[in-house]
């Protein structure tokens, strides 16, 4: 049934919520309460499904979060009970029960709704989409505030239990997989878009692997997808991997010495923060080690989203200051000046916003040294709360990879040029060291990097001191 117009809509929402969100049973009866009638929670699902506008959905979620959270009075009362026992100690059983009552009081009422929805056919899938809506609504500021953040946290923690690694199946995609799966896979590939079905066939053919995690309750539905190229050494260029080329019929094992993770995509935005990507990388790594025990190198070939934007920001501030603040050495500035034929920062800012500059060999050559240096710094030195600012770097470093190599002209597609001046990065996985690396990064925030990267960073630091 279509939900009614704006004015009556909020009234309909309130009525729905009153009807559909189950009462929290009294603590004593919590195990003896029958499940709400199936229809009760299904009502919420179908009402929500009928809301075609993002704003409407945001409105409903806001009302749910605000009006059906924790009963603060109950929490306070039970807290007082616990505190009193602290002052007048009784036997352990009494304290533990008081704490359990408090724990129970701290469960928001909407959790019951989500819990019951999860048991409906397709219910978990619905909650994943609901959380995707919630995240989007927060990003677009359609709905805000601590209650919504709390509800998001509750949902995320529920999803984390359900999508626990023990319940994920690794599936490999080949040309024998159902067309439906290949179509889904192809539609989800955002990093290096798939142009045609022959392109797809290549990405699952010889010297390539494509894996995904599905939940064991919904086999064939990709949650997160990882593409791998099997190569003779660590690739420095993405076009060599994704350009359409004549298909080899077969795979020669002894031509394979490296596995390059060249794309990873989360298909369900509602699962953000549920550590699927990390697990998938680790699992595929093991799978490949089993299939190719002689494999010597595992590495990503990753985009550097945000680098151009960051660089343009720097160039902009430099422009304003009309001074040299160490972006380029004197000789570089000179060479660049000749190549661009104008005031360096200003002109570069314009050029690097587009992708045509890559046509000029001169410019490409003049930019290589400074951009490599700046990019190394961007990845290694720029931080957010102590961790790498660049999200891709942060992902691989959390997984325990080493910041291995920065590649000039690693992605010469228009997209690659405009988002990261054509640069790409390798994050290398040494299977034995990912554990310690991960702990070091997450704990002491220290980044493990190769000599190439460290040397570029040192050049940057030396230069910016000038």
């Amino acid at each position: 049934p279509r939900p009614p117009g704006p004015l009556s809509l909020t009234r309909a929402m309130d009525e729905l919520l009153r009807r559909a969100v189950p009462q929290t049973p009294a603590y004593e009866l919590r195990e003896k309460t029958p499940a709400p009638a199936e229809g009760q929670c299904a009502d919420f699902v179908s009402f929500y499904g009928g809301l075609t506008e993002a704003t409407q959905r945001a409105e409903l979620l806001g009302r749910l979060a605000q009006g059906f959270g924790v009963d603060h009075g109950q929490v306070a009362e039970q807290s007082a009970g616990v505190l009193q026992l602290r002052e007048q100690p009784r036997e352990a059983a009494v304290l533990l029960q008081a704490e359990d009552r408090l724990r129970y009081a701290l469960v928001p009422r909407y959790r019951g709704l989500f819990h019951h929805i999860s048991k409906l056919d397709g219910g978990v899938r619905f909650l994943v989409r609901l959380r995707a809506d919630l995240l989007e609504a927060q990003a677009l500021k359609l709905v805000e505030g601590p209650h919504v953040r709390e509800m998001n946290g509750v949902l995320k923690s529920m999803l984390s239990e359900w999508f626990s690694s023990g319940f994920l199946n690794l599936e490999r995609v080949t040309w024998h997989s159902p067309c439906e799966v290949l179509q889904k896979i192809s539609e989800s590939e955002a990093v290096h878009p798939i142009k045609s079905w022959m392109d797809m066939k290549q990405r699952v053919g010889p010297y390539r692997r494509c894996y995904f995690f599905s939940h064991c309750s919904t086999p064939g539905e990709p949650l997160v997808i990882l593409y791998v190229a099997l190569t003779s050494d660590i690739s420095s260029n993405i076009q060599a991997i994704v350009k359409e080329q004549p298909l080899s019929e077969t795979e020669e094992r002894d031509r394979i010495a490296a596995a390059i993770f060249y794309s990873i995509s989360l298909t369900q935005q509602g699962l953000q923060g549920v550590e699927l990507g990390t697990f998938l990388v680790k699992r595929v790594l093991k799978e490949l080690q089993k299939e190719f025990p002689h494999l010597g190198a595992f590495s990503s070939l990753s985009p550097i989203p945000g680098f151009t934007k960051w660089l343009l920001g720097l160039l902009g501030s430099q422009t304003k200051e009309h001074g040299r603040n160490g972006l380029f050495t004197d000789s570089e500035s000179k060479e660049l000046g000749e190549a661009v034929g104008g005031p360096v920062p200003e002109t570069l800012k314009v050029l690097l916003s587009g992708s045509e500059w890559a046509q000029s060999e001169k410019l490409v050559q003049a930019l290589q040294a400074p951009l490599m240096r700046l990019c190394a710094w961007y990845l290694y030195g720029e931080k957010h709360r102590g961790y790498a600012l660049n999200p891709v770097a942060n992902f691989h470093l959390q997984n325990g990879a080493v910041m291995w190599r920065i590649n000039w002209m690693g992605d010469s597609s228009p997209r690659g040029l405009t988002s990261s001046c054509g640069l790409m990065a390798n994050y290398r996985y040494f299977p034995e060291e990912t554990g310690p690396n991960s702990t070091a990064y997450l704990g002491s925030k220290s980044i493990k990097a190769s000599e190439q990267v460290l040397s570029l960073v040192a050049q940057f630091q030396k230069n910016s001191k000038l």
Copy 2:
């Protein structure tokens, strides 16, 4: 590695727990803490697996529950914080965060251990077995106290999330199923034991159904099993169903008018309290309605464990009192006296402890009326905290079934005779009414029963008033 001897064993346990149970990260770092090294939690699993004695395992679980629960100081501190905000209101965000900190403080530390174990290969299965051990240890009083009860509650709630109905697959067992599955099924059948493979073939053949739930991550592993007979009317006798007989080749749909649930078994004791049986009954009911839209009656044919014991208790107390307290009418007493040839209660007590009495036609006839009446009362009138005392009755009534019929000589096997004087009960499921019935039973504790049962109960009541 084999755990060491008794004295050093407790020391080894303490050391293991110190090492294996992950620290709870500070609230602020809870999302940034890397997973503990895989080995850390695996250590616990292998140490535990090496404990061959139930007492040793109970000891370790007791220490885990006692020593790695909630930090009561933290809980009190955060409770105080919440209370303070109650008195000096600030913006919602502050209160919600204080509550969240309190919630976090209320999570016992061992939950982190279980959480990480669940991600290991076979981890969830390990936790199911661990909980089975815990329940057994509690039943045997190997370990006691509120901490252990709390830990059991935590485990149960984690298992409930993982074994949520959305993740259960209904599998049907046929003679085409893998032998491994049929062997497992056959070994799990406790109610009406399976004697041979031809017996098994019959139970999955024409006019029979056998279904189980498996978790979607471990297909082919039965968690809870339901046996169904397809009959022409509601069966009153179990031997007619499970005795070996020539196999029909085919099934004639129009000879099928009733579905009799004649056995349900939970294969994993660690999943007690996780509502698998109820869901399975409901799911199979739907499945059968789909396969046989014309099916008129759904009913269990259930044992009545405990009835003989209860009856012997009554007879005992009657013996002591040397009086008549309404177990039998005068004419019954007379008839029984003739049949047993001795003082009624005393002799009956001896006779009903065994199964030979069923050989005497006279006795069988003399006992029918009084035992039917007593049994009706036992099922309908005897309560535990307001719910039916008999666990099988309680299970079906919770599911919304009607107490339908009590069957004299429903199970004439030695087992049936000694545990329930050969009586069996039907609990009938009216698909449209299970919801209301369940709510009525769980809420107002009222039992819906057929006229036969109610009339027997009335006879009992009238008689015991004498």
Copy 3:
């Protein structure tokens, strides 16, 4: 190993054949002769596989047929033996053995080669390709003569045993089928070419069916494919079926009243004459009756290849004769003259060779009546050895269909216009009557046709008498 140059090639061929074609064992030893070494026949396969030119392959096949057939001397000798027994009768056993020896002598030696190849991995598939080559070579006159015809007959009869209907699996193609299967299907569709993967998705989606036969030893490999549209009545226009359109999500059973077979393709030319298509139509018909018991009409919607060619021939002869020979009535000739603006037969001949004429509404209208009539005659009246000249008509009539309807502008694609002036035909299958119809057609060559067709034929006959 690459076969050598032309001169030495024939020598290499002779040497290969000498080596690879097994000796026919003496009659007495026929059961005791060990299989030839695997390599012996595999040699033939790999040599043949190395012949890249059709002419080379034809040469080899010609030499095989010519040089390794029946030993005519043996045949004559055994024939004489049989005849002698006819004159001097002995006991039955003697005659039967003489006949068996004669039968044995009549088996061409190359049959042994084919027999042994059939046992190699992929051997049967090889023989199917070999026969496809043989048929093509005959069509192109690369090789001729009775020996080659005989070998083709032997191969066909062997393939008929192997591809017997009992060994064919009916597979349904859906969007869940492996991409590999869908790609093969799509590449084999010659009648109404598939333009894109969305086009393919539509042809296996709601209101459509796509079935194929595979051999049970090679599941997933289509041998012959049948496309069906599920419609509300017998379709008269192919574009309504194959044009790309928004996909329905679901199928409403009660909107389905007819099943239209709109394309059938043999994927392996080597299986020509092995009655796959006929069986597939019958099998799918049964399948659809089972799925939709209420289905009222089964019919093909078929192209009429050759009609334009035949018509242009008629127009050409008419042109030469400068006379009217009954193609058009006077009023038609007048109307057509106005529409084409020139001498009718000559101009029409030019126009109907192309497809632009369909743009002129006037012309389309003027042509409808005469072309319908002519087409009816072409299908019903034109014969080859007494059977329908048009191969599609002949196929469906053999299957027992009724010539049901001729559809004006049934296929307005350029292809449809140029090959059959846009006309299409329905051959309708009445499930109960296909047997008798087939017998009547094959036996007495009588065509069962609808009133529409018969009336058009009558018009044609009446008109051509003028």
Copy 4:
């Protein structure tokens, strides 16, 4: 419908055959003749299925063979045609067509019936059973004569095409296989009977393999079954393999050095003579080489059916002749005399008819040398038409195995003792040499044997010269 009584039964048979056996079309129409109505051949199948007595079935088959074979007049006529062309040569096409007409005339009419039956659902399976009946009827002399032998030959050749190796699937049986398959397998094991399901579990568990061929059109239906034990060396004793023992959980690859084929069973007697066993042995050998590339020895451990019977025959003739004819040396005779305590041949004849003699250590020791020698001769020296008389030896020698070893007390079961005095034989397969060995055996009838066997044979020969 039940066939009627004896008198009218033959009339009903004749009527059925007249109705059900399709007419052979004239040569010219052979491709244009519609298939007979489905019911026509199905009639035969159901009539035959209704014949419950073997004699009735034999009667029907005899009438079919006799009355619906080749038209001898046609054959003679066409033979004459061919001979005439021999005398008055015309172009090749004419001769080839005459030969083809003759070939066509030589096809018995009942072949058409079988051909059409093969296309019915379950038709091929029916024909396999029909041939089993035919073979049994011949063995029991229920039906005789050249027509029946011819029909058997026709059926065998048809079955050989259908059950060609390219259409056979190798399936491995494990404990995960459907119970139905395991039950079938277990019921078919005649060589070393399976006593219980745990026995079965062992035969498909660690260190064991069980494979079968199924036809690709009926997967899961075993046609011929091979059991393999994976051992450390070539087994000399069957009890070590088939006795029930505690199951190993796992298999250690490096404890496996030999593969012992210890049982092979044809499940369908109707497939006798269709070379399934030979192919299965070869295929399994390859499969095992792939799984265990290091495997050093492949050998059978085979029964020696008929040896006791042959030996008793010898002892009998010796008894009659009252003389020594070289069965035993003087010292052996003496030792045996002491052991049996009576006249040697007579007493031995009695003893060896039973199995108790194996209880006497003395006797066992005294018999070892002479029986080993006699058995070697029985296997190596006794022939039927030049090939080994013992069918098991003949089977393995045809496959190219070497007569490897004779094992004293290789089968101490009552069955083993009574059928072959407890002796068993190993036939060893050297994968590279089976081809040449097979050719040598089938061609020049020469048996390849090991030194042990040859030396025993030499002893026998030396001894029997005395």
